[in-house]
Amino acid sequence: MSTNVSTLQNLAIDMQKGVPMKPAAETSAKLVTTDLNFYYGKFKALHGISLSVPTGAVTALIGPSGCGKSTFLRTLNRMYETVPLTRAEGAILLDNEDLFAIELSALRRRVGMVFQRSNPFPKSIFDNVAYGLRVNGFANKATLQESVEQSLRRAALWDEVKDKLHESAYSLSGGQQQRLCIARALAVNPEALLLDEPCSALDPIATAKIEELILHLKRTCTIVIVTHNMQQAARVADYTGFFLLGKLIEFNATKIIFQTPAQKETEDYVTGRFG
């Protein structure tokens, strides 16, 4: 299990186009998909996606609605398995380990997820953050207390909630709830965090807070963020992938994608000439 970086590079070649779907700079990869196809029943939603997500960076996935961004994201922690009749083909590696061979709950502890709509549990703020720890067998009160505080600090929410940890999570504002959901995901110390349009329901100020938070988090946690907002991708992402109709058209450093994209479709999309 000690494949080196160059092998990974070879894996991450788009077979059809022969374009290396990996940024030129030498970085190690946290998640690597190779020729990934995905089906909802008979409908093929992803076509041969080969992409490697660099460790310790923010990777944004952009593209028009329905192009398969969420579907791709949900393969990375196998969340798609909750939907009946779905099927993924191809290889996904998490730190060089076959993702499909990892025990499901262990995988989901390692690859956390934050959803489009903030979805706190109908419990107290404390219990929301502690949930992941409890479900994974941490019951020690002092440990819980410490972890909850640390996670809330990492999610930049501690100062706002430290005096009302035992109040309902629903007493928070929309932006706070979404940061609470990030804290909840961080509590189990994931190596990677998947965010599916986490700001789509938030106002600009709450959005700015979450973007700032993402920039802090990437030092300790690899981040993949789906966004329909190109400015957001430009602001927070180190790397950006452009999806269209279930295909990964281009993947590169964000700057290159937005300024000198290699593909015509990418250029049309980022300049707003699309559709």
Binding site: N77, M79, M113, F121, K123, F126, Y131, V135
Partner: protein, 324 residues
């Protein structure tokens, strides 16, 4: 004065003008009138009901006072009437019904909403809902011809498993508080199952997924997240079941044994308020007898409200902070 700015707001007010016909056209006024009369009708019917029960039970109320509630004697010949055995029978059979039906019903609802494949779930739910539409006299027949003989057959098993409890002592003839509780449980199950399933299905997918994304298993996400999220609705279904059980008449009358006694054993026969009213109202002779039966109706009404109130209060006080 006549600036364009000042004129502008005047324009729409001509159309609106507060006229009755405009209100009629927009639908607001008729809708308000119709809905408020519906609401008022409900309140009116309830008040009328209580008033009639109260007025018509005057003879009995004046003769017995509060003693009516605590007297164990029901002797039409001697003109002595007391409600206690009937209150006891009503409460005990309803409680037994809930003890049996709540875990079964909630368990079945969890299976149908979370675990069963959709087609199986829909088919089973359809059957369960059919069960809710079966008239209670049919359940009574089922109880007399199937349940009671069956209970008599498994009596030795019941005794060996539950016999150490004071509530399972004495001879067992089949027609008993126990049989009434069991048939009530069967009758209220469809309510608990179909409402709880509906409520569980309405829990947002992202609640389940949030738990799964933290490494919870399917069962952990169901039991720790989905069920608590649906708790209010599930409680509602239990209230409905309780109300149904308290007032159920026909099936209970057919198997409870119709014996106005208070005994600690569920194996003993008993009597319920609804059952005695149904059994004796047509043949009641004399003002006092009729009036006592009507007062029993008043007691049942009060009991239903009281028990619902207590249950609601219990929920309110046990709801921890932080929960919805």
């Amino acid at each position: 004065m006549a600036t364009p700015v000042a004129e502008l707001p005047a324009a729409p007010s001509v159309r609106r003008a507060g006229s009755f016909f405009w209100g009629l056209h927009g639908g607001d006024k008729p809708a308000f009138l119709i809905t408020i009369s519906c609401a008022a009708a409900i309140v009116l019917v309830t008040c009328l009901l209580v008033y009639e029960l109260f007025v018509n039970s005057a003879v009995s109320r004046h003769k017995f006072g509060w003693d009516f509630l605590f007297s164990r004697v029901w002797d039409p010949v001697a003109g002595q009437f007391g409600a206690l055995p009937f209150v006891y029978g009503t409460v005990v059979t309803s409680a037994l019904a809930l003890v049996i039906a709540v875990p079964l019903g909630v368990g079945a609802a969890i299976f149908l909403s979370e675990l069963a494949p959709p087609r199986v779930s829909d088919t089973l739910t359809f059957l369960v809902e059919l069960l809710a539409a079966v008239p209670s006299v049919i359940f009574g027949l089922l109880a007399v011809f199937v349940l009671v003989p069956f209970l008599k057959q498994i009596e030795p098993v019941l005794r060996s498993v539950l016999g150490w409890l004071p509530t399972f002592q004495g001879p067992f003839y089949g027609f008993s508080l126990f049989a009434a509780g069991v048939i009530l449980a069967i009758m209220v199950l469809p309510f608990i199952i179909s409402i709880s399933r509906e409520v569980l299905l309405a829990v947002p997918t992202d609640q389940r997924e949030a738990a799964l994304a933290l490494g919870a298993t399917k069962w952990e996400s169901t039991w720790q997240v989905v069920v608590p999220f649906a708790r209010k609705g599930i409680t509602g279904s239990i209230f409905l079941a309780l109300a149904r059980a308290l007032g159920e008449t026909m099936a209970v009358t057919m198997v409870i044994g119709n014996d106005p006694k208070i005994s600690a054993s569920l194996f003993a026969p008993g009597y319920s308020i609804a059952a005695i009213i149904a059994n004796e109202f047509t043949e009641a002779t004399g003002d006092l007898y009729t009036s006592s039966l009507i007062e029993l109706g008043l007691v049942l009404f009060a009991l239903t409200i009281l028990i619902n109130g207590i249950a609601r209060l219990l929920i309110l006080t046990t709801t921890r902070r932080g929960e919805t």
